[in-house]
Amino acid sequence: MELEFRLPSLGADMESATLTEWLKKPGERVRHGEPLVTVETTKGLIDIESYEDAEVLEQLVQPGSKVAVGTALARLEVQGASQAPPAAPAPEATPPPAPMGPLAPASRPPASAVESPGTPPPRARISPAARRRAQELGVSLEELERFAAGGFVHIEDVEKLAAQRPVAHTDARGAMRATIGAAMARAKREIPHYYLAHAVDFAPAREWLARHNATLPVQDRLIEAVLITKAVALAAARIEGFNGYFLHGRFESSAAVHVGAAIAVRGGGLVAPALLDADRKDLPTLMRDFSALVTRVRAGHLRSGEFTAATITVTSLGAEGVDVLFPIINPPQVAIVGAGAVREQPWVRDGELIARPVLTLALAADHRVTDGRAGARLLRAIADLLAQPQAL
């Protein structure tokens, strides 16, 4: 079966990208999940992976061309039956059509044989005038849909959105700042955040980590962030309402837990690509993934799946020595956990004052989905997991 490989939207604010390099030539095979093409976006260079096992028939766009999201980049010949959809849900993609009703028996007369296709998900109400203005300003409909999040978009919103867009910036750093600004402004505008903080006795984790690392060469050692990430992933898998997306006016829970790891870009900026299936990977595997992810961020070579897949995010400012980090949710996710520095603190145990390494975790969660009680449960679950690091 032949299909077109189109430029996916890789973030809440991306509407175009410049193709920089083809990684497969016509006639070559590409496997599912294997990078096919590199594009440059405001977030840097991204390797876009194929969703199919396929053969490249033709490259439709040449390096150096700037193309809009949705543009066909290549024609692929997909081998065999159609593949399962990509493991990582792409929150930015158009939602799948509502499932069709059961097929009517052929014997029924056609007039009554048509089943209702079911209620489609509510569509963002973008006024006709806003649509045309968006076209004039080169704002994509997907961008508006995300901006609207099921609400109404007027012409002034399009103009605001266009003004916020990174395209106006010429330097990459300014573009990233604009990208972060747009995403965070949207989060603050639309998501009713609630915040909870919880101090965790980090001594068990730290001691276990020291013992574990003592026997290993440097490159195989674990870092604290991996333990925290794993604990958050497991807790998010257990407690409903924190892992998934808020799209089209409702929460869509995700079965897979892909933890976005907020990684600072040197000189300013931040990306939060996903550690896929973080709840199911053992610590050494997760560490390798994390390490590779940071390396790719540093080299400016993220993969497309990593960009859009995260279902919950962990962010840490431990290295900077602050106690608590109150994070902002990265839409369309509904929760983010911030980790401060692990520091020696007075700690009362069994009526005695002792010094312990203490980690303060802060949760920001979406009040449209959960309440503080559920959030408290999530934080306690993370704390309990960190108290038993050997079980992670």
Binding site: A210, N213, A214, P217, V218, Q219, R221, I223, E224, A225, A264, V265, R266, G267, F290, S291, V294, T295, R298, A299, G300, G318, A319
Partner: protein, 84 residues
């Protein structure tokens, strides 16, 4: 810069684990965390590279000794001397 000096070898290790820094602007005496936003993963990557390149063991508690280029140079010198 002489490619064989210890400082230049450390610098090239640094740029291999952190290709996004500009080595010519680096002040060897200043902490990497302050200068180029080194985080725990960068530190680990740098420590792993130093350990492997010079064949020296670096305990987790000794990462702090790689805080700046100059500190790292002193540390590596000390370890290589101890190794004989």
């Amino acid at each position: 810069m002489d490619p064989d000096t210890l400082e230049s070898r450390l610098l090239s290790l640094l740029t291999s684990v952190a290709p996004d820094i500009e080595p010519q602007n680096l002040d060897p005496a200043r902490a990497l965390r302050e200068q180029v936003d080194f985080d725990s993963m960068d530190t680990l990557h740098f420590a792993a590279a130093v350990s492997k390149t010079f064949g020296i063991d670096i305990a987790e508690t000794e990462y702090a000794r790689l805080a700046s280029l100059r500190a790292a140079e002193a540390f590596v010198r000390e370890r290589l001397a101890a190794k004989g």
